[in-house]
Every structure is written in structure tokens, then in C-alpha cells.
Amino acid sequence: MKPKTIIEKIWERHVVHEEENKPNLLYIDLHLVHEVTSPQAFEGLRMNQRKVRRPDLTYATVDHNVPTKHRNVISDEIAKKQMSTLRQNCEEFAIPLADINHPDQGIVHVIGPQLGLTQPGKTIVCGDSHTSTHGAFGALAFGIGTSEVEHVLATQTLWQAKPKTLQVKVNGKLGLGVTAKDLILAIIAKFGVNVGTGYVMEYTGEAIRDLSMEERMTVCNMSIEAGARAGLISPDQTTYEFLKGKRYVPEGDAFFEAVQKWEEFATDEGAEYDRTIEIDAEEIEPQVTWGTNPSMGGPISAHVPNPEDYSRPADRSAIRQALEYMGLEAGTPIEAIAIDHVFIGSCTNARLSDLRAAAEVVKGRRVHENVSAIVVPGSQTVKLAAEAEGLDKIFTEAGFEWRSAGCSMCLAMNDDVLQPGERCASTSNRNFEGRQGNGARTHLVSPAMAAAAAIAGHFVDVRSFSNQEVFS
């Protein structure tokens, strides 16, 4: 039999219907729902007297709008209405909901894996582009719009054209102090924000195999920033060990049967991809973005680029616009950029290991006097686990604010908004204009790099920083 990629295997097992000159009708195993992209879909169902076909394969939470400071004080009436609308819709259509005071509440892409809803071989969708996160488990997971949300609610299927496959091969090992976030930022900086358009990406290679599940989630999370709706990693022992004992994962003998089934999904030796790109892990340094899309970044040792050094006119004008928005001069060392804010959070970097990595840097130090810094755990479960280890104390004693779970300042839909001109070192995924607030300037970094910047007041290489005694 012809060797196959995991992408082809998952696809083939989910085709409900195919005919010529049409995309395939694909079955969806898990549909995650949140408050922002679902109300119009439920309204569409009501208008057409349709039901939710499989509420048992649907799971909802509130994350985008929720306050992270005072849990039940929602000053924004429109946001409040959006959350109560989700509550009513879940009641009406019998969909399980981790509501704001529910212990399982959190960012939808943090809680899916945490509950064990995310499993290898599944097709997973959500009205959110960072659904690619779940690909870390060897699931085919991608973001959809509200019309597609409605389609999945009504039929548990989607019409999808078979994607091309892109192998992203990461050779060798990551250096000490270089994280999964640096890896994915380096991939995007090297290959651009649309290398993955039209493809599903599969990450392979030694450096990928070495990653923990939480690190793999960070990598897959940002597949969309490279243009790919989905990015995944074949499951292995690391995957199964993570899943064992999770609430929605089978137990006992059923677990071993599940593992056998999951193993079959892994890409076969010798399988072919439509395209392969490669990067050497050894060459990657801690990364900092300087521009207004995730590919506009580079190593901490670099300088802000000069637009005139680029040959394509479109690049020159894009970089010129980006530097103007970011308030940066070409040639400035990245380490010389001073910051006003630090945000540690988001579906990219707000899991327990992310908070541990940041806490390790912060421990016994003080946040710089010019910086305000917040930590927003990815879920209430992560929050409690971090508190059990005393991470909250480390952060608060250093001068960080310790918040409750939500998307928070990653997209600033709630009250966690920056002011025009403010500059933020952020562990989130997008540095688009206005993303963290109108006129706000976002630099994407890893949790350890964000923590180091919080202490120093400017960007600094966490590898040299960790061993120094820095008091400011």
C-alpha cells in the first residue's frame, strides 16, 4: 500500500460523501464553540427551524470577552449580552457549556486538550483561527467562519476541498533557552505569512519529536500565522502519555485500544508531501517581532531592518508602514527597544509550562518601574495548578498582576486594552495593527523572553539574562 501522511489518513476516514467537481463532505468529530462567532449561527438555525444535530459532539465556553480581573463585573453591556446569548443558546440546544464561573472555563484551545476532548485522528473545528492548536495531538483541526459554524451545528459536516500537504521539517535540536515559540516565530520569519495558504502543514523532525505536548500546541497554534488553516504533528508516546487519565479519554483496556487506533494515524515512513520546507533548529535564537505581522521578526541579536534593503516594492512599502506604526527606526538594536507592558497569556502561551518558564526568570526579581505586567492563565484549571505550585506568589511578589482565565490582551476584546502608542512584549500570536488596542504596538515573544523584558524594561536575551543579578 502507498505510504500516506496523517493528513490523508484522517481525511479519508472522514469523507461522508464525494462526487465529481465538488469538495468532499467531511464529518466533524468535535465542534468547539465560543461567544463571539456563534450567535449569528444559532440565530440562523432558529430562523430555519433547524436543530443542533449532535450536541454531544459540541462543547462551548466563554473566553474572548470575559473579564480577567473582577470575574463577574462586566461593564460592557454588548459583551454581556453576547455571553448571555451563548448561555441561552446552549440551554436551548442542549450543548454543554463551561460558563464563566465553571471550573473548566478557559480559552477554548486550552480546555479542549486539558479535558481530553482533543484526540488523535479527530476532525475538530471551531469558529476561531487558532483551532490549529489541536493539531498538536495529530488531529485535523481548523478554524471556520460563522456560516460554517451554522453548517456544522445543523449537519455535523462541512464541505471541504482536499488540502495540499506541506511538510515543515525541523532538523536537529533547539539550543538551551530556545523555546517552541521561538521555533514557530523563526519558521514564519523565514518562510512568510502565506507559505501555508492552501495547505495543511505537518511538523516533523527531531526538534518536533523532542517537544512536550504543551510546546507542540504552541507550534501548531501559530500555523495559521503562516497561512495554513491546520498544522499537525503525528501522535507518539508523548501524545498518549499526555492524554492518559484525561476526563474524556477512555480508561483501562479501552485506553490501550484507543492508543492502537491512534497509532495508525501517524504518517507512514516514505509518505510524500506536495511540498517540504526545512529549517535547522540549531540556527534559531530567541525571537522578537518588530513589525505588524508575525513574519516581521527575527533573533534578539538583530537590528530593526531598513526597508530600503528589500528588493520587492511591496515589501519596502509594507516594512515602511510597519516601522511607522511601530514607532521604530531602522537600525535600532532589538535589545534597545524599551517596553511599557508585558502580557503573558493567550492560547499560544498560557499553559502551566509557559507560566513555569516565565516564573523561573521572574523569581526573586522586580518588574521594571516603567513596565506594567499581567499574567493571564489559559484556563481556570491552569490557574489553580499554578497557584498550587506557588507561581502566583512569584509573579505578584515581582509586581505582576495575577488574573483569571480568558483571551484577554491577546485581542483586547475585554477591558485588557492598551492605549495608543504603548508598547507591549506579548506571548500571544498576532502583532497586527491595533490588535491589543488602537495604536498599540505588539512584539511577539516567548514567555521567558516576556518575563526577562518585564524585569529589564527592554528586550534582552533570556539566555544571558537568566544567570545575571539584575535589579532595577
Binding site: V16, H17, N21, K22, P23, L25, Y27, V36, T37, Q40, E43, G44, N48, R50, R53, I78, A79, K81, Q82, T85, G127, D128, S129, F142, G143, I144, G145, T146, S147, E148, E150, H151, A154, T155, Q156, T157, W159, A161, V193, N194, T197, G198, I224, G227, A228, R229, N293, A314, S317, A318, Q321, L411, A412, M413, R430, F432, E433, G434, R435, N438
Partner: protein, 194 residues
């Protein structure tokens, strides 16, 4: 959704690459629970200054483009977030056709499902259209049936589109009711899977 076969309209040139959905509609406007009324927020921070006044230098605000219904932009238009509020805002504002060398995948699907026609032309063709539109009031004819884009001055380009997407757009079909006709197949799949 409304069917679209042919469209003739004024072209607005947005000469930027990687226009993301955060620019098309900023997050503070995603809190509504309706599909309508997003046009007023389209390109909000590019269209309006911090006091809410129109920025005269932003292309869409210029008098020549007030009635524009065709937007032309650089590569990777619609990247970023999956928010369908982006095509809702474009449509509500009055854009029926968007021309670019490439579009982000999720945005492409979302737009098509709302009856917006996304036309992929080559970078060279897009550059020509951008230049012509920058000169002032410029009209294009877009024909989905024949997959052509023409102007009154000899410009002629063809585009490719997936035949299924084309059929949906030409007929304005509701995809959910089409899929529900396959209920037996969905049921059979579920039984087999269990």
C-alpha cells in the same frame, strides 16, 4: 445569500499586502449578535482618527471612491482571524467583488458563503488595475459565468474559480439545505463509525 452572476462597479485601490481581518473590522465591533450593520466599522482605524473623524488620506474616504463596489488589494488579503464579521462588514459597506493576487483560506470561504465574489488575478494584472483605479473613477465589469474581468479601455483578464464555489455563487444557494438532503449518508457514516 444573494446570487451573483455579473457585476459592474467602481474600483477602490487599496494598495497594501497582507490586509488582515483585524484591520477589516477591529475586535471592539465583534460583540454584536446580528449579521447586519457592520459596514460602519469597516477598516475603522484606517478610516477614522482617534476622535472619530474621517481620515481624508485613506483611499476609501476619497470622493472618487465613495460609490465603489469593487475593492482591489495586494496579496494575502483577509489573513488572520476567522471572523466572518470581515466579509459582513465589506458587504454591508457595499463591496460585492474583491480582486487580489491571493486570499487567506478562511476569509475566502467566509466571503463566498456571503455571496462576495473573490477574484484572483496575477500580480501584474492587479498592479495594472491598482494603477488605473488610482487615477480616479474607474469601472470594471466582472462576469462570473465567463470568469472574466474587463474595463472600457481594453483591459481583459480571466480568472479561475472552483466549479463548486462558482455554482453556489451563481445560484445563491443555501448550502445547509443542500447538505441536509444527504442526511441518509451522514446517518450511515455515523453508524459505521460506531
Amino acid at each position: 445569500m444573494e446570487a451573483i452572476q455579473k457585476h459592474e462597479g467602481i474600483v477602490c485601490p487599496l494598495d497594501r499586502v497582507n490586509v488582515d481581518t483585524d484591520q477589516i473590522i477591529p475586535k471592539q465591533f465583534l460583540k454584536r449578535i446580528e449579521r447586519q450593520g457592520f459596514g460602519q466599522f469597516l477598516f475603522y482605524h484606517w478610516r477614522f482618527d482617534n476622535d472619530g473623524n474621517k481620515r481624508a488620506d485613506f483611499i476609501i474616504n476619497q470622493p472618487a471612491y465613495e460609490q465603489a463596489s469593487i475593492l482591489v488589494a495586494g496579496e494575502n488579503f483577509g489573513c488572520g482571524s476567522s471572523r466572518e464579521h470581515a466579509p459582513w462588514a465589506l458587504l454591508d459597506y457595499g463591496f460585492k467583488v474583491i480582486i487580489a493576487p491571493s486570499f487567506a483560506d478562511i476569509f475566502y470561504n467566509n466571503s463566498t458563503k456571503n455571496g462576495i465574489l473573490l477574484v484572483k488575478l496575477s500580480e501584474e494584472e492587479v498592479a495594472i488595475v491598482l494603477e488605473k483605479a488610482k487615477q480616479g473613477k474607474y469601472t470594471l465589469q466582472v462576469d462570473l459565468e465567463t470568469q472574466t474581468v474587463t474595463d472600457n479601455d481594453g483591459f481583459h483578464a480571466t480568472f479561475t474559480i472552483d466549479s463548486y464555489q462558482k455554482k453556489l455563487l451563481l445560484n445563491g444557494w443555501d448550502e445547509i439545505s443542500l447538505t441536509m438532503q444527504l442526511e441518509d449518508k451522514i446517518k450511515a457514516f455515523e453508524q459505521k463509525a460506531n
